[in-house]
Symmetry: C2
Subunit: 311 residues, 2 copies
């Protein structure tokens, strides 16, 4: 239930990080691009196939030490229907390797439409007498601007299929404050949204103290992380903005409780483009990604300490 499967993977790997798979075509080593263009054409399909090969290489290099992947839907939709197929195949491959899959889609809508998104990304769809899984996420990022009508359908699907969600609360970008920091009766919008998460989460309680309704809280706002951890004791944080967006391990320390639980930190470009930064040659992209993942894990575990879930 809830985000317990994720928490167990984090404890098992002693690693509260997630590898973001946001594969711009530029990130893909040229030899992989070339091979797939020759085979499938220099078009959306060729690009999508190249990205899939790249993703699989990354997953192979990471699955025993990193608990989760977070494919960002935008970078797959960018390559059209072929790209969306690569999203599915990436989820399928990550799942086959035992990784927890967080689909970063920031989906939002109401009522039956939100039920459709929930079924699409976290549930099953019935056609005739059979049921199918349209996409293969274990959790989905969502946007709560529409209120409970947009979240309740997800809660139901999460309860039925042992899945979770992460609601945008305080995002990592510079302009996130334009709306999110504005005060409602003296309380910032992000905290109002956070408290709604805490409420929604009551219907998806987990065994390790955290519900199935997590919150996206940017690493770039350490003060807000601290405050939100205090007022949202049962809400697990998905933390973007580490590395490429400038935040460090110290910035995210307050997200974690005394058992080393409470958050999972994302790195996308840092891991995917490690071979460029390490200047080690593109054929070593997977090894470079693994080295960076280990470096990041060790840096964050230096702050977090041991992770214990006290079964």
């Amino acid at each position: 239930m809830a985000l317990d499967r994720l928490i167990e993977k984090i404890e098992q790997t002693q690693n509260p990080t997630v590898a973001g798979l946001d594969p711009k075509l530029d990130y893909v080593p040229e030899y992989i691009r070339k091979k797939n263009f020759e085979r499938y054409g220099e078009n959306l399909k060729g690009a999508a196939k190249a990205i899939l090969e790249f993703n699989k290489g990354l997953i192979d290099a990471l699955y025993d030490i990193v608990p989760a992947v977070k494919p960002q839907a935008a970078y797959y939709e960018m390559y059209g229907t072929a790209g969306v197929k690569t999203l599915y195949k990436t989820q399928e491959y990550a799942r086959s390797k035992g990784m927890y899959v967080i689909t970063d889609g920031k989906r939002n809508d109401i009522g039956t439409t939100m039920e459709a998104y929930a079924a699409a990304h976290l549930g099953k769809v019935k056609v005739g007498l059979s049921e199918f899984e349209p996409f293969l996420g274990d959790a989905l990022t969502v946007n709560g601007y529409l209120g409970s009508d947009g979240i309740k359908p997800l809660i139901k699907t999460c309860a039925e299929h042992d899945k979770g969600i992460f609601v945008l609360v305080k995002t990592s970008n510079p302009s996130s404050g334009e709306l999110q920091d504005k005060l409602i009766d003296g309380v910032p919008v992000y905290e109002v949204m956070g408290k709604m998460c805490e409420e929604w989460g009551k219907e998806l309680a987990g065994v390790y103290g955290y519900s199935g309704v997590g919150a996206v809280v940017g690493a770039t706002y350490p003060e807000q992380i601290k405050r939100l951890r205090e007022v949202l004791p049962n809400t697990f944080f998905l933390i973007p903005g580490y590395g490429a967006q400038g935040a460090t391990a110290k910035d995210i320390a307050a997200a974690f409780d005394k058992n080393g639980l409470g958050g999972i930190v994302n790195s996308s470009r840092g891991i995917m483009c490690a071979y460029q930064k390490q200047k080690c040659g593109e054929r070593e992209f997977a090894e470079a990604a693994r080295r960076e993942a280990i470096r990041m894990r060790d840096e964050i575990m230096g702050i977090v300490g041991k992770i214990e879930i006290g079964r």
Copy 2:
């Protein structure tokens, strides 16, 4: 530029409505389902193919009298990669018939990720030396919770490719007020968001007085429509909630200016399921949809009066 192409289509058809294509499989006539299941299997692909046939029938019945379609991404993602292909094919068919395509995806993210969504849904993507259109929307619905970092990349793409966006401002659902009605210095969140749209729109000014940054404003909140029309003089409204959600033509009157411009009203189920309501037999689904579209047009035009764009 801006939403001018949409406004011209509205004037040409004298019809400020959009047909929402939210095709739950239950809406599709049984004979279409059966035929496609026999041909492609009783699975996600068979469902997606049945939906495409249904959509094409609806478009054939509507394209000369209704200016636009609004496919809702959730109902396509629900049928997996096959469903997403049906989204593309639906957009392609509507475009071939001269309809304006509003992709209802409520996408949101920041920076390069939002650029990826913008390219996916409104722009083009370069692979090698060629450019491709991943999806075929003329406009996209988006969620502005993340602030300008989430909107600016769209503005750029809209300017380059003559496209538009609709930002969620005041949604039609009962719980929309949980966040949207809360007061920030005495001003409701939806109005704060609306004013951001008005600002963002300055970079996408249109020739008929409305910018390329529209707002989603629910028909179920007539008072808020009135207020928003007053304070957002250059923001065009996409108005859901008419019909199935209970709002009437009178409720949306305030959205329109003296030239009959200012908004486009969506009906999804009302049109798609007209054959069920009219009890006319499922093989008449297209004619029933056309009858309902004409009824709706006449009802709304009774309030709006003549639409003039004063070229």
